[in-house]
Amino acid sequence: MTAVKNRKAQLGPAEVKAELLAKYPPKVARKRSKQIMINEALENGTPEITANVRTIPGIITMRGCTYAGCKGVIMGPTRDIVNLVHGPIGCSFYAWLTRRNQTDPGPEGPDGENFMTYAFSTDMQEQDIIFGGEKKLAAAIQEAYDLFHPKSIAVFATCPVGLIGDDIHTVSRQMKEKLGDCNVYAFSCEGYKGVSQSAGHHIANNQVFRHIVGADDRPVEGKYKISLLGEYNIGGDGFEIDRIFKKCGITNIATFSGNSTYKQFATAHQADLNAVMCHRSINYVADMMETKFGIPWIKVNFIGAKATAKSLRKIAAYFEDKELIDRVEAVIAEEMPEVEAAVKEILPRTEGKTAMMFVGGSRAHHYNELFKEMGMKTISAGYEFGHRDDYEGRRVIPTIEVDADSRNIEEIEVEADATRFKPRKTAEAMQALEAAGTVKFKDYEGLAPDMDAGTLIIDDLNQHEAETLVKLLKPDIFCAGIKEKFSIQKLGIPMKQLHSYDSGGPYAGFKGAINFYQEIDRLVNSKVWSYMKAPWQENPQLSGAYVWE
């Protein structure tokens, strides 16, 4: 059985790439060809890949839209903001509780606000489309306020809103003034903007930065104050990371945006370091906070036990404080034995197995770590909505062409805050830290350098390519999202969702790593894949000996 499973097709990457493109009309093939890169280590990085470009009409894509990136991903996990979707009902309905973001509102009471279980919509009707929906929006904000008295209401535009020209920003500003004690602001995140969810991340970053970050100067206590950016508490990942931070004595002021509150965002400017998990979805806020408040950012990754240890060490090194450095080492030493025991247990069953990952804008990279720890190899990977820098590293940013779709997404001009800008470290101190090798500021090397030579890196993988890849390379596990799950599994290959994790989690941190090892072991070694043929199919000869009169 294992022998059969491990028998890999002997096709080279160039042949596989040719197969992926074979069926396409010439124009499509030309375009897709640039988004399929055969990885190799070049003197100066990795080969160039085309990314963050339009999806081809008719080609069944994994991507979603700007609204999904804005309302669903970034703003969805904050529990005490009323997220009001301005548009026809569907967009609001589909983003209602479908992302598995966990939150901890604590006990009942004034601090126990949680609106994440609610879906709020203006449910626009035909007359709103014809005559405009601004009045209805204002009325809906008022009704939400009267019912719930939230500290904040966020308004999200869906496709038709931009077209009919509703000015959601003015309505929000007017309602904010009228209500007095409720911060109301809006997101122009119509689904047609940009080319994927990524544009929505950017729009969300802009407005969170503009309307919330820095709104609350009441001091937050803590010795080593950081914020964690780009962590969404899917399946409780954020809970596990917070557990570790707490153990280390690190104060996480705000997570953007898993298990978060309005106040966390509002006080996030008081952090002394921003630790960025998902580079794609949140690097804008990190950059803007640096410019405005002087908070440096570093890339971290809490997916994978070793990556977690490494990230903790980076944070400790940044603070240059012996007490913290020792504490972090002690925590790692305390946590690792359990992880190592778990690896030892599963390794004989997972070593040498192969994985493919096509997900998000960071996870296809982050989860590489976990698979490596299990002795598994990622033979092909890519992002659904990454940019070139997520593949090739931030060094390529100056060379990325800004096309019409990206130009439409606002870039906020940020200046240093007149009173609150405070460099956390001198330029010399930062240079010295970088020279020492542990900490690199504002840096992300991307997915490609961590992938083996000869692996295929594919941007915006689609249904046809996924099926072809799986058939040709027969991975032991395929990771993507819900839309891809069952077509892959029909082929007899286990599929793990890495957006929402299907049902498990957490997979971050030390405990999460153990969960993941066990989950992948369960999937790649499941008996179910051997049940697909009935006995009479495996052995179809009929024998007269068994025919009874």
């Binding site: 069926k23 396409y24 499509v28 999806t55 081809i56 009409p57 008719g58 080609i59 069944i60 894509t61 979603g64 700007t66 609204y67 009001l84 548009g87 026809p88 009902i89 569907g90 967009c91 609001s92 309905f93 589909y94 479908t98 009942e108 949680n114 609106f115 279980t117 609610y118 879906a119 919509s121 203006t122 449910d123 626009m124 009707q125 035909e126 489309i129 209805k136 009325a139 008022q142 009704e143 019912l147 719930f148 869906t158 496709c159 077209l163 119509e190 689904g191 080319v195 019409a404 439409n408 249904q463 046809h464 819900i482 839309k483 069952f486 077509s487 029909k490 082929l491 697909m532 043929k533």
Partner: protein, 457 residues
Amino acid sequence: MLLRHTPKEITERSALTINPAKTCQPIGAMYAALGIHGCLPHSHGSQGCCAYHRSALTRHYKEPVSAATSSFTEGSSVFGGQANLMQAFSNIFAVYNPEIIAVHTTCLSETIGDDLPQIRKKAIAEGKIPEGKYVISASTPSYAGSHVTGFSNMVKAMTELAEPTGKKNGKVNLIPGWVEPADMEELKRLSKLMGVGTIMFPDTSGVLNTPLTGEYKMFPDGGTTIAELKSTADSIGTIALGEWSSADAARELDSKHKVPCKILDMPFGLKATDRFIDALHKMAGVNVPEEIMVERGQLVDLISDMHQYFYHKKVALAGDPDQLIAMTEFLVSIDMCPVHIVTGTPGKKFEKRIKELTAGMPCQVNVRAKGDFFLLHQWMKNEPVDLLISNTYGKYIARDEDVPFLRWGFPILDRQGHQYFPTVGYKGGLRLLEKILTLLLDRKDRDDTEMKFELVL
């Protein structure tokens, strides 16, 4: 409490929908289109809608759901999506090669005003649609109606393919409405038992409940074939189940091709199933076989055996109009009291039908078309119930209010079985009663004091 901010006191809302009991038209159109054999549904708009609809259907059916999109960008939103759709046609036929593409619009393309029939004409003229392949289209703006309307619009669009040959085919068209693949299978089984040849459209059985075999078929074996859809013009009549989801298509076949139609409630429960069987019997001129009589008798038997547990139990319901009407009638017929009923789908007729069905019940009935789960929950806080019936979203209310909860409707995201076990027909009625009884009796067993706890129920 998960819905801790929902107040008991009810204030009227004019602009704000909270926790909707409906979703948008295109997902219904997509579901319907999947019920045509060899069909790729296509969402004409920006790709987010398509991604959401595919995800929602996938979460409900736990099956692959393929559909393409025109992937509008800001440019297409300004200049119209014709170029995108033309390009999509070429790519779809080259890469996926379906028999037919069923296009539906979205809010975006509707607001822009894209004219699908005209774009199709142009595509045909330019040779973008290969010989022997088909494209049908439905207009499905989400700022009107609901997912049910979208379903109905796509089913109506299927009648475009009807092509009379001048010779009757002796069959009955059966439009099942938005029910589960298992329900469609059951309707076919019942028709077969009756000896009635049917053309069911759409038919998602064999499409959204396929086996795991190691082979992936983008176009599974099930679904109504194009030949069958053509032949609907030659049928002796049409039985349409559900005014909201099926009537338009039936009327279209009637007015265009003189295929007479009978519009019935969906056959959930005893009486609606009786009317369905009776209609088949009359329209096809066949007798009702003994097997079906036995199934009916079994359902009546269970009702009589367990009547004491149903009697005057209060029920809250959220769902789609056709389902709710049939379910309300069923509950009333076994002396349960449906007291709070909301659907998100607009339509004055709904409230009227529910009021007629519940007239004479010993309880006051709250009913609202264009209602939402928030209102339903508030009603339940004011007048508690013994059972909640709704799609999965009801579980938050059920947990907060500690009410037994029957998942029934769309979407069901957290339990299995709906795609395999029907709730239509007499056997489906048995299943519904079994589920309701189990919920009520499990609750009784949980809540009874030790003194009152009993072995035999």
